[in-house]
């Protein structure tokens, strides 16, 4: 099983759901996440530090309850399963951001062409 997840949303509910699906899938098959748009910005160090994700009612209770957040879920999955996370180079160039501006979860910074090539035989989820 090969799954690719395109993460475009910065909403905490979607980030949480994506991380849980990715982590379980990574223990059975191969998972690749491409974080772009707001889905990339969710990994910025200042956003993570201030827990400044977009959150609805459920998201707010998730943030105040002591549940492991998506970054920890993904880190854990990288240890246990087969998960690679890629940051979108286009957004980083546009906003003049470096890999160091983000929390340390990314395996590489890539573009759309590279990602498309990698996911050719994968099921794709767009979140």
């Amino acid at each position: 099983m090969k799954i690719a997840l395109v993460l475009v949303s910065g909403e905490i509910e979607k980030l949480q759901a994506a991380s849980i699906i990715a982590s379980v899938a990574s223990t059975i098959g191969e998972v690749m996440i491409f974080a772009t748009m707001d889905g990339l910005m969710a990994f910025k160090k200042d956003v993570v530090k201030n827990r400044a994700w977009k959150a609805g009612e459920l998201g707010k209770s998730m943030l105040s309850a002591n549940v492991p957040l998506f970054i920890d879920v993904l880190r854990n999955a990288k240890e246990v399963g087969n998960l690679k996370i890629y940051a979108c180079g286009m957004i980083m160039d546009m906003l003049n951001l470096k890999k160091e501006d983000f929390v340390d979860v990314f395996d590489d910074v890539i573009g759309v062409s590279k990602f498309l090539e990698m996911i050719e035989d994968a099921k794709v989820l767009f979140i």
Binding site: T27, I28, P68, E79, V80, G81
Partner: protein, 77 residues
């Protein structure tokens, strides 16, 4: 077989916590060994057996205790 089984107490942890704890433990033990996971999360009690089947291990038992579930798995590969 040693007769001793690894018991993972994941009570109080939400999905996918109990499953990920189980998987970590499964990686450590030799093939044929039994791992038990305790979970207070009902959805994990339903979902862990699905993972076990998909991953090709053996589900020995799912037992409801008072306020938690005991899921017993044998590593098959």
């Amino acid at each position: 077989m040693s007769g001793e089984r690894m018991i993972i107490d994941a009570r109080g942890s939400y999905c996918p916590g109990p499953l990920m704890e189980l998987i970590k433990a499964m990686k450590k033990v030799p093939v044929g060994e039994i791992v038990e996971v305790l979970s207070s999360d009902k959805s994990s009690a339903k979902d862990i057996p699905e993972w076990v089947r998909k991953a090709g291990h053996e589900l020995v038992e799912v037992k409801e205790e008072s306020g938690y579930w005991r899921i017993v798995v044998r590593k098959k590969k």
